[in-house]
């Protein structure tokens, strides 16, 4: 399982407008194109996950994630903020790349952990590549992910 296989162009926003953690979560959840009640339920779960401990893993990356009934398969959305957003990350630096991962509650929890691990690994590779901040357009972004995952 690779990040490039999980991401689609429609679920990428390379120009996040929000300046707060909550706003970023809302923008990312919107990319999943769920019904309004499902979106609200998912946001509640993601906010609770952030209360449990920040999903900002440092080096400018945040990977908000949860398992939720509102999806039927592992679903990923990606966002990029040019200015960066305070995400209470471990290294206390602002996050500019966001990977939202939502998995259904059914199925083997190990699959979810594997998917999460793969995304975390790919995200770290991406944060080390300077092109990630300037690449334009979702398709080129996916192309860059593919290149880095090779």
């Amino acid at each position: 399982m690779k990040l490039s296989e999980l991401v689609t162009a429609k679920r990428i926003n390379l120009d996040l407008k929000s300046t707060t953690k909550d706003g970023v979560l809302e923008e990312l959840v919107k990319l999943l194109r769920l019904s309004k009640p499902a979106r609200e339920a998912l946001l509640k779960t993601l906010r609770s996950r952030e209360e449990l401990g920040s999903t900002g893993v440092g080096k400018g990356i945040a990977i908000p994630h949860c398992r939720s009934l509102v999806v039927s398969e592992v679903t990923v959305a990606v966002g990029r903020s040019k200015k960066g957003i305070s995400f209470k990350s471990m290294d206390k630096k602002c996050a500019f790349l966001f990977f939202l991962i939502v998995a259904p509650p059914v199925g083997d929890p190990a699959d979810y952990l594997i998917a999460l691990g793969k995304v975390a690994q790919a995200a770290r590779l991406m944060s080390a590549d300077k092109r990630i901040k300037s690449v334009k357009g979702p398709k080129k972004f996916i192309g860059l992910i593919e290149e880095l995952e090779r």
Partner: protein, 117 residues
């Protein structure tokens, strides 16, 4: 969506998160990836708040069914209850008010949630 169903979904997601946060294997694996899971108390508070939003009858059912199965809502995907994998009667599966009315699986008793396509 039925407001009580919305609360049940949020509750189920939180229950799963609490279970994962208390599972040493999961926390170890997530810790290695750089994820902190330190504030389980906040989740317990959220769970309590959500439970208080349930009507007495649904709260009773929630307590009974979660004690037995560890969850209360089953996703319905392609007309099948994904708790017991029994097909939902087509009259209910095709109903206009699904997710607006609280339906339960006739086989396992879980409340049903039709996942967005």
């Amino acid at each position: 969506m039925n407001p009580q169903l919305q609360v049940l979904i949020a509750l189920q997601d939180i229950l799963l998160m609490i279970r994962e946060a208390k599972d040493p294997t999961q926390t170890k694996a997530l810790g290695k990836m750089g994820f902190k899971m330190t504030n389980v108390e906040s989740l317990e508070n959220t769970r309590e708040n959500l439970e208080n939003q349930l009507s007495p009858a649904i709260l009773r059912e929630y307590s009974r069914v979660t004690k037995r199965h560890g969850r209360i809502v089953a996703p319905v995907i392609r007309g099948t209850c994904h708790a017991c994998f029994v097909r939902i009667p087509s009259a209910i599966d095709a109903a206009d008010d699904r997710n607006k009315t609280l339906y339960r699986c006739e086989n396992c008793g879980m409340y049903l949630y039709w996942v967005d396509k």
